[in-house]
């Protein structure tokens, strides 16, 4: 039997991890970003002060990139509070986390460190080490020129000593690009020429070229046609709706996109066009889901899913339809994972591809429908604002657990894509049902596995063991 303090500690940690998965610092349907910033900052501070080692270990737990960067920043700025052993583990975790983060996130983190005036020896070492390990520094210096420059200055970087062919020209490129005349590094030279020559614009990375295209007054259509080979995968997907023929992707290429991003793209298409392209889009979503499922495909047995397409799934202007996007992606992923799959949308809609955020969140009734099919696993993807009537889902789940399924033959998991700023955390369905925050549907299998600690009975020791094992595995990947 665990003591109350242990249970509370476990609850705190899980609360933080769930929040750090779901909170993205953007407006949600119910609350704005200001309140969210406040709540999330509070959680970070609370974790840092009370459970510093677990706070650092959260980097290994699949939380979202924004919160990873936040954790790294806080750890670096409060290094003096840590004991040497902690610092060693933190150092490895930070190095591993930075390696996984997208480069743009890391440069933004470096800028944040500079703004916060965090310039201790450890911070400088971390920055130097990360920059030295980049495969193509010249490319990044062009693409993230401003942030790169700030990082170089802030970390007292010896630019000439950096590896790679661009090394000896970096300083000139960053600090006196006009003084040197011609560059020997081809990309720097292209960048210099793009100031005067239209053709050179198309050899630059897309985000950089956009600025030059505006300066050269290149029409959007011609620009996209020329820049198409330079587009990254996500940039290309983002341009599908507005880019026209030049950047169009075929069905096979769509199927290679990440599942959640693909679902977001599908839901942005008007319903009648979705109807027309039904076979293509469904095929792409299925392919992406199968690829995500990998060798776990078909191993989950009978699965029922209650998927939220109520009006609140429309998100905010910043996160358009995000909860619905996650539900749609989860739908296809569960279809791939399950042996036998029953999707139940709240609106009674049977056609997942035409999902539309409308109507009320009558979770109670729908969970009953799902339980009637006798599933081994029940996954509820919802923001948890049960309102028709409020609290019915909680009661149904409670009575189900107490009276009808005391042995817990059916595993029930609630995945919540929305951070509730007022509740400081993700909204729960019922006290006995594990709730996990979810950002990308791709993480669903790991979240379902991790959610078993969130049933209110696991203590901190058990959780700490699981987290440590996970950290070990994660860090071991680095050494390989």
């Amino acid at each position: 039997m665990e003591s109350v303090a242990d249970l509370t500690a476990a609850e705190d940690v899980l609360l933080f991890v769930n929040a750090a998965v779901a909170a993205t610092g953007q407006d949600e349907f119910h609350t704005g970003r200001e309140r969210q910033t406040w709540s999330v900052d509070f959680l970070h501070e609370y974790m840092l002060v009370n459970y510093r080692d677990l706070y650092a270990a959260a980097l290994a737990l699949g939380i979202n990139d924004r919160n990873k960067a936040r954790i790294v920043q806080r750890l670096l700025s409060t290094g003096a509070d840590a004991v040497p052993a902690q610092r060693a583990v933190e150092g490895r975790l930070i190095r591993r986390a930075l390696r996984d983060l997208p480069a743009s996130r890391v440069y933004r983190l470096f800028t944040a460190l500079q703004k916060a005036k965090v310039n201790n020896r450890r911070t400088r070492a971390v920055m130097r080490e990360w920059l030295a390990a980049r495969p193509d520094l010249g490319f990044e210096a062009v693409k993230y020129r401003g942030a790169f420059k700030r990082a170089a200055v802030h970390a007292h970087l010896d630019l000439d000593g950096l590896p790679g062919e661009a090394g000896d020209e970096l300083a000139a490129f960053l600090f006196a690009p006009k003084a040197i005349g011609k560059f020997r590094t081809p990309l720097f030279e292209t960048w210099r020429r793009a100031h005067y020559e239209r053709a050179a614009v198309f050899e630059l990375p897309y985000t950089v070229a956009e600025g030059f295209a505006a300066a050269h007054r290149i029409p959007r259509g011609a620009f996209l046609e020329g820049i198409a080979p330079q587009l990254t995968r996500n940039e290309r997907l983002r341009l599908q709706r507005s880019g026209g023929e030049a950047v169009a992707l075929d069905a096979a290429a769509l199927g290679r996109m990440p599942l959640t991003r693909l679902a977001a793209y599908v839901l942005a298409i008007p319903a009648n066009e979705r109807e027309e392209r039904r076979a293509e889009l469904t095929g792409a979503l299925r392919a992406a889901a199968r690829r995500t499922a990998g060798d776990r495909a078909g191993t989950w047995g009978a699965v029922a899913a209650v998927l939220d397409d109520s009006y609140s799934a429309s998100g905010s202007t910043e996160k358009r339809r995000r909860p619905l996007v996650v539900a749609l992606a989860a739908h296809f992923l569960l279809e791939a994972l399950a042996g036998e799959y029953r999707p139940l949308w709240l609106s009674g809609n049977d056609d997942a591809l035409l999902a539309k955020p409308r109507g009320v969140t009558a979770l109670g009734e729908r969970i009953l429908d799902a339980l009637e099919t006798g599933p081994e696993t029940l996954v509820v993807v919802s923001d948890g604002w049960d309102n028709a009537p409020a609290g019915l889902a909680a009661e149904v789940l409670r009575v189900w657990a107490v009276r009808l399924d005391p042995q817990r033959r059916t595993a029930i998991v609630h995945l919540n894509p929305v951070f509730d700023a007022d509740g400081i955390g993700v909204r729960r369905l019922a006290p006995g049902v594990p709730t996990a925050g979810i950002r990308d549907a791709e993480d669903l299998p790991e979240l379902v596995a991790f959610a078993r600690f969130d049933d209110g009975r696991s203590g901190i020791a058990e959780l700490r063991a699981a987290v440590d094992a996970r950290v070990e595995r994660w860090l071991a990947e680095e050494d390989r």
Binding site: F29, H30, S310, Y311, S312, S347, R358, G359, V360, T361, G364, E365, L368, L371, E372, N387, A388, P389, A390, G391, L392, A394, E395, V396, R398, V399, W400, V402, R403, L404
Partner: protein, 372 residues
């Protein structure tokens, strides 16, 4: 005298946001042959270089034979404007027969417009009022109404409210005081009218409550676990929870609207529908709701809009009612209310109704009242 009902409408679970509770009403099938068009004002030809405010008024449109009403402005046979139509000479009744559209006064003005009408206020006083308004500018209203935008939390509550499928109405509670009702004949009308609730006006009481309270309790569903042995039981209990809520709501929360007896004044007949205004007997009620409704032949509301009067409104209405019952005789009214005449005049003065009295009568009685 009869009661208001929500016959034909089902109460669904309310949604709470802060201090605002919105309780949806759902119709099984929409009412045939009647539609409400929000903002159905045609282009008034106002100059483009200026800022103009068109109050949100409603247009009711009906077909008379129970067939579907076409979208606003798409039917050839509909009169473009009933205002123009009503000015036609009465000698041509054919046009009047074809009239299938009625405009509503915007709700913000409706209150001041309709309350005196119900009491047959003496029209001889209007020149007096006019000259007083001319000399002393417009009179300050004894109490103002507040736009929904000023009611704390209402705009947010309306924004995050999730509309039920088939929803045709809503009851707005602020700190669990019923502040307004809207019922429409068709779910699409409701969808279009839902955001305009924030432009409606609300009484001072509601505004004050919205400031004083920041949360109301959610009606939490409760199921007795010991009586559940199977999934079918559980489903039955879940259904029962919903029925309990509907019964509790109609019996307790909405009692202030549904229990009292109302005077119905029929103002317009629209094929089988009739447009009525209703007001309670002010002497007996604690919660006073006035408004307009369109009733079908069985007396079920196809359209209903309600405004909760504040205490000051009710006090004025009581005085007007007493005066109206006693045919505007001061002595008889004072006797009926158990007051002396000077005291009644003082009451009228305090309620800002003494402009209806002759100046010398008012002054004499006020002086006597002060002297007492």
């Amino acid at each position: 005298m009869s009661r208001l009902t929500f016959a034909g409408l089902e109460t669904r679970p309310g949604q709470v946001w802060g201090q605002v509770r919105l309780v949806p009403l759902v119709r099984e099938a929409p009412v045939e042959g009647l539609r409400m068009h929000p903002g159905g004002l045609e282009d008034l030809g106002l100059p483009a270089d200026g800022c103009w405010y068109t109050p949100h008024g409603l247009t009711a449109e009906w077909t008379g034979d129970g067939s579907g009403v076409p979208e606003f402005g798409t039917a050839m046979r509909m009169a473009a404007s009933t205002v123009r139509g009503s000015r036609r000479p009465k000698a041509k009744p054919r046009f009047g027969d074809r009239r299938t559209r009625v405009r509503f006064v915007p709700r913000r003005g409706a209150l001041e417009t309709y309350l005196p009408l119900a009491f047959r206020a003496p029209v001889v006083a209007w020149p007096e009022w006019s000259s007083r308004a001319f000399r002393h500018s417009l009179l300050p209203l004894p109490d103002r109404t507040y736009s929904g935008a000023l009611v704390d939390g209402l705009a947010d509550a309306l924004r995050v409210f999730e509309i039920h499928p088939g929803q045709c109405g809503v009851l707005v509670y602020v700190a669990d005081a019923l502040s307004g009702v809207l019922v429409t004949p068709h779910p699409d009308d409701y969808r279009r009218l839902h955001p305009t609730l924030v432009e409606d006006s609300y009484g001072e009481l509601i505004w004050r409550y919205s400031m004083l309270y920041d949360a109301v309790p959610e009606f939490e569903a409760r199921i007795d676990a010991s009586r559940v042995d199977s999934l079918a039981d559980l489903r039955a209990r879940a259904r029962a929870v919903q029925r309990e809520w509907a019964a509790f709501h109609d019996g307790a929360l909405a009692a202030g609207l549904l229990d009292p007896e109302y005077h119905f004044t029929e103002t317009c007949a629209m094929a089988e529908f009739r447009l009525v205004r209703y007001r309670p007997t002010f002497a007996s009620v604690r919660e006073a709701h006035v408004g307009e409704a369109i009733m079908d032949a069985q007396g079920r509301p196809a359209f209903l809009q309600s405004f909760r009067l504040s205490e000051t409104h009710v006090r004025r209405a009581r005085l007007l009612e007493a005066l109206s019952v006693n045919e505007w005789r001061l002595e008889a009214t004072a006797e009926a209310l158990g007051l002396s005449t000077p005291a009644l005049v003082a009451l009228l003065h305090n309620s800002d109704l003494d402009w209806m009295l002759r100046r010398d009568v008012a002054d004499r009685n006020l002086a006597r009242h002060r002297g007492q």
